[in-house]
């Protein structure tokens, strides 16, 4: 229902429930605010937004507004000013924002706020982009009647955790930070302590300000009270150059601004993209940019000569690579050559990488999945992925989200915020996982399955959907989809008939009633989204079951419906799309010849190996029959150390390109820096190599030319181009600057483009294939899992000193029950043995783990989990021994 009101003599019609500030902003009237933030509930703490409000007088008899002799509505003015940020509009309301009275109110509030504000703008990191500064210039009296000698003083440079610095004098107690932590980040680690003049922001968490999202509070703090340790005193805001970029630390693909000064990144800020990260980024994305400026970057091509790495020219290095590859190809055939590319490379590089191997060299051996991710893939999203136009930031009531085997807070932090936000707005959230995760607190249904039984759980859900009816006796399957476009429904129904919730309950440990309730809740929603991650196991039958569940519930092919796979790296999605797997070509076309996968290549399946941005030899030594190893890298990784030729590559901030995020959104990023030394972008290295190997037509001058070819040859990117990827967002989708002051909006905002799934094509027929689930997991004994953590021991993260204390050190997490049985306490050493491999690690008792599960995070500095589990396994089979180390 819409409501019409008058603001400063201008009529505006807005939906009922809109706040006065928002209604005013629609017609370009700016009401100054400090505590109000459109992403959070209003609190009315600062009183900056005071306006005069009048309501029409209604005749009680007729129920109609009274009019005076002149035919004007009679207005009853409220006796006191009203906070525009807390007051919803009503029909006929009259708001005045530009009277002398309102100006006097604003003056008074500012004068009052400044009595306890140090006004040390010259040394304040916010100075220059500070709402308090701006509004003081605009609305304050200019002089204070208060005695400067009685000015309030409090602690300055107070460390709130090791990332954020608090200046207590500057805080105006707007509670934006505490509300962000509580409402949005779900880490209520900040609070306001004491009252009146003594009120201050405190954090009692251990360690202080323990949150993956702490940096966002510095963006929304309307004064310089919260600043980051990273940016502290590094530049004044007006000295920065802003470059629109995309975060390269996980698959969410948050839009960021790289703020550079004197050729270095001095801070990373979120860039608003309501479809991806809204206005937030996580602390990893914000602080882990230091690898760009690391002194350990490779800057010169290196070649092994007589056992030593010597610096050579690009010509020499590339000529050598081409000669050796040609020789090996002639001697042993093209199949003796393989390539492993990292999923951090942008799309253009990945495309050229596979093109070089497949078309120029002629080998099918291409892969991106190394270490514990070997074998992990996602092939269902091309059919049943979330449809174009999906906006997790706007779903709520009527949407069901099933999260399966993913700890979003660690694996895809900003996706966590969006899923939690959907739950906050009334979405049904089913969190299915093998251990307790942070998302449980927001979940309406928590399904705690035994590790290894995720597939069975989905089959149980499928059983309920296909065999049961709701209270009204209606089938649970989705009406829009099921009848016309689906084949194999009867067979699937027959197959899942034996997977009753009761049977699944005995296998998975999830009570049958919980499965039933979750399935009913999921199917009852109008929109459904399934998010699955690595801890579910990634068995082909699991992926099939997830796709089937999405299809039979009808949650495909429409916006806000479909599947999201939580893949590990910034461009894992792009690597899947571009066929960086041995069995698929770009665009999900099946390969005629299946090549070797990364594990097979590393274990001696090939004689020459091209590695670009990956570290497949992190734990294993180079095989003897690997004659030639070329590595394109930023750093001297373990693989680079074993290489014959090391080619220095450029980091994302130094080049342009595009990444595809988890929701298949292709996003372009601009270069912000110059590359160090002689480093070259990977696509350019690959191009030169192809030319030296005699390929024709490899005359790409820029990544744009590569992307143009991708758009021409791969249907997924059919209507994409850099121009379309960088089309500015319509102004109506922006939030006005004054609310987000502190963010760099000098960079244009883009939203990127999603490629459409098969389900969105009206002619597509879904085939419900059946795949038998893997064997039941053992119900006894201990399983070892290797979850992902945000602050892992990766090469890039390791370059950021600031986060060093946050990086997870190797340990084995044990449930309190198991710890009691084994007589373990925090810090004691535990011997863990899997088959012949064993290791001793300090133990951490973790109540989030169920009995019988021990966890060693993957991708830590010394790769313990990888060492124990070998490659490609998520949980260990039998043969796991855990015991307290003697003498500890």
């Amino acid at each position: 229902m819409d409501v019409t009101l008058t603001i400063d003599n201008r009529e505006v019609t807005v939906p009922a429930g809109t706040l006065i500030v928002e209604a005013a902003r629609r017609i370009g009237i700016e009401i100054p605010v400090f505590c109000y933030h459109p992403k959070m509930l209003p609190v009315g703490m600062c009183r900056m937004c005071l306006v005069t409000v009048g309501l029409p007088v209604v005749n009680r008899e007729t129920g109609r507004p009274e009019v005076d002799a002149a035919g004007q509505r009679v207005i009853r003015w409220l006796p006191k000013p009203v906070t525009a940020c807390t007051e919803p509009v009503s029909e006929g309301m009259v708001v005045i924002t530009d009277s002398a009275q309102v100006a006097a109110d604003r003056k008074g509030i500012l004068e009052f706020l400044l009595t306890s504000h140090p006004l040390d703008c010259p040394i304040c990191d916010k100075g220059g982009e500070c709402p308090l500064q701006d509004l003081t210039y605009r609305h304050s009296p200019g002089v204070s009647r208060f005695d400067i000698a009685s000015k309030y003083h409090a602690a300055k440079a107070y460390p709130l955790g090791d990332l954020i610095v608090l200046d207590r004098e500057r805080c105006i107690l707007c509670a934006r930070c505490t509300r962000f932590q509580q409402e949005i980040a779900d880490d209520p680690v900040l609070a306001i302590e004491n009252r009146g003049r003594d009120a201050m922001i405190v954090s009692y968490s251990e360690p202080a300000f323990n949150s993956h999202y702490s940096g966002n509070t510095t963006d929304i703090c309307p004064v310089g009270a919260l600043t980051t340790r990273d940016f502290r005193f590094h530049a004044r805001p007006w000295e920065l150059e802003h470059t629109a970029s995309v975060c390269n630390h996980c698959g969410v693909g948050c839009n960021i601004v790289l703020d550079t000064r004197l050729g270095r990144i001095v801070r990373v800020m979120p860039r608003q993209n309501e479809l991806v990260n809204e206005v937030w980024i996580c602390d990893k994305g914000r602080f882990a940019h230091h690898f760009h400026a690391s002194s350990q970057r490779l800057t010169v091509p290196l070649m092994r000569q007589g056992g030593r790495m010597v610096e050579v020219s690009w010509d020499e290095a590339l000529q050598h690579v081409a000669t050796r590859l040609r020789a090996i190809c002639e001697q042993h055939g093209a199949e003796a050559i393989g390539g492993i590319a990292g999923a951090r490379l942008p799309n253009e590089d990945l495309y050229l990488f596979q093109k070089l191997l497949r078309q120029v060299i002629g080998t099918p051996n291409v892969d991106y999945r190394v270490g514990l991710s070997a074998g992990f893939e996602d092939d269902i999203v091309a059919e049943v992925g979330v449809a174009c136009g999906t906006d997790l930031g706007r779903v709520g009531c009527g949407t069901a989200i099933l999260v399966l085997g993913s700890d979003l807070d660690e694996e895809a932090p900003i996706l966590y915020l969006r899923v939690a936000g959907a739950a906050r707005h009334g979405a049904t959230l089913i969190n299915a996982g093998g251990r307790a995760t942070k998302l449980d607190q927001r979940a309406t249904h928590v399904l705690r399955y035994r590790y290894g039984s995720a597939t069975h759980l989905v089959l149980g859900l499928l059983h309920v959907v296909l065999h049961e009816t709701n209270e009204q006796g209606r089938a649970l399957t989705g009406n829009e989809i099921v009848p016309g476009r689906v084949r194999g429904l009867a067979e699937l129904r027959a197959h899942v008939s034996e997977w009753t919730p009761e049977r699944v309950a005995t296998i998975s440990g999830v009570p049958a009633e919980a499965i039933r309730a979750a399935a009913h809740a999921f199917a009852a929603a109008q929109n459904g989204i399934i998010i699955y991650g690595g801890e579910a196991g990634n068995h082909p039958a699991l992926r099939r079951a997830i796709a089937n569940l999405a299809i039979v519930t009808g949650f495909v092919g429409r916006p806000n419906n479909g599947v999201i796979a939580v893949l590990a790296h910034a461009n894992s999605r792009g690597a899947e799309d571009l066929g960086i797997v041995p069995h698929r070509l770009p665009g999900y076309a099946p390969a005629e010849r299946h090549g070797l996968n990364a594990t097979e290549m590393v274990q001696g399946g090939v004689r020459a190996l091209l590695v670009a941005g990956a570290d497949p030899f992190a734990i294993s030594a180079r095989q003897v029959n690997l004659e030639f190893l070329v590595v394109q890298e930023l750093f001297m990784s373990a693989t680079a150390q074993q290489a014959d030729v090391v080619l220095p590559a450029v980091a994302p901030g130094e080049r342009s390109g595009s990444y595809t995020n988890l929701e298949r959104r292709v996003q372009y990023f601009h270069p912000a820096l110059l590359p160090p030394g002689m480093a070259r972008p990977d696509w350019s290295i690959l191009r030169h190599l192809a030319v030296l190997l005699g390929a024709g037509g490899w005359d790409y001058a820029t990544p744009a030319a590569v992307f143009e070819e991708m758009a021409r040859t791969i249907p997924l990117y059919a209507n994409m181009s850099y121009e379309r990827l960088t089309q500015p967002v319509e102004i109506s989708r922006h939030m006005a600057h004054y609310i987000y002051a502190g963010m760099s909006y000098q960079s244009e905002a883009y939203e990127g483009l999603q490629w459409p799934t098969l389900a969105e094509q009206a002619m597509h027929t879904f085939v419900l294939e059946w795949q038998a689930p893997p064997p039941d997991p053992p119900t006894r004994g201990v399983v070892l899992v290797a979850p992902r953590v945000l602050y892992d021991g990766g090469t890039l993260l390791g370059q950021t000193q600031l986060l060093a204390s946050h990086v997870v050190t190797s340990h084995v997490a044990v449930s309190p029950q198991d710890a009691a049985v084994w007589g373990l306490a925090d810090g004691q050493r535990v011997r863990v043995a899997v088959c012949a491999r064993e290791i001793a690690l300090p133990c951490r008792v973790n109540p989030a783990l169920p009995t019988g599960v021990i966890a060693i995070p993957r991708n830590l500095a010394n790769n313990v989990a990888e060492m124990l589990l070998g490659e490609g396994q998520l949980f260990s089979p039998a043969g796991l021994i855990v015991e307290k180390q003697q003498g500890s």
């Binding site: 100075g127 000698a149 000015k151 003083h153 502290r232 005193f233 004197l262």
Partner: protein
């Protein structure tokens, strides 16, 4: 005719008189560089960075001078004071401070913008250098008291103006001299 000669003689005598008088006066020509040049107190020459009486630097690294500079010839990179290494009162100091004197137009805007009166245009005008890189003067050079022998202030003032006062502005209570920011 005689009258004309007489008048001419008078004019010549007058002119000679002026010449004679000026022969006796002190010459205005300055034997620079053998003799120092006297400059007016508001002369705007080479910059210096000032210190407080207790030796701490006035500059807080705020870069407002750089922002005000019309030729963009000032580079300021700020640093953070620690208890072990304290350069200025308060939290922040100018770790790198450079002025490119080849670009500077000696407008004095930097001094005007400075909230702590740290950067001051003083009196040195002899700024030629052999290497153009030497025209970029650094914080270390700027912090040295700079009284080259070829300059004197005019008698009616002293070379060192009284920068130590908060010219008429009340100082925040409870803060020692020079703790403007801390």
């Amino acid at each position: 005719m005689i009258r004309t000669i007489g008048l001419g003689a008078v004019e010549i005598a007058r002119a000679m008189w002026i010449t004679l008088i000026h022969l006796l006066r002190r010459p205005v020509t300055n034997q620079y560089p053998n003799e120092p040049v006297a400059v007016y107190p508001r002369f705007r020459g080479r910059h210096v960075l000032k210190r407080y009486d207790n030796g701490l630097e006035r500059c807080i690294g705020c870069a407002l001078c750089a922002a005000a500079c019309p030729t963009d010839c000032i580079l300021v990179i700020a640093g953070e004071n620690t208890p072990e290494a304290r350069y200025s009162p308060g939290e922040r100091y100018g770790e790198v401070y450079e002025i490119n004197l080849l670009r500077c137009i000696f407008c004095g805007y930097c001094a005007e913008a400075c909230p702590t009166e740290a950067i001051v245009l003083e009196y040195d005008f002899a700024l030629s250098v052999y290497d153009r890189w030497d025209a970029i003067i650094t914080r270390e050079q700027l912090l040295q008291p700079h009284t080259p022998p070829h300059i004197v202030l005019r008698d009616d003032t002293t070379l060192e103006p009284n920068w130590g006062q908060w010219g008429g502005v009340a100082r925040p209570a409870g803060k020692a001299e020079g703790q403007a920011s801390g």
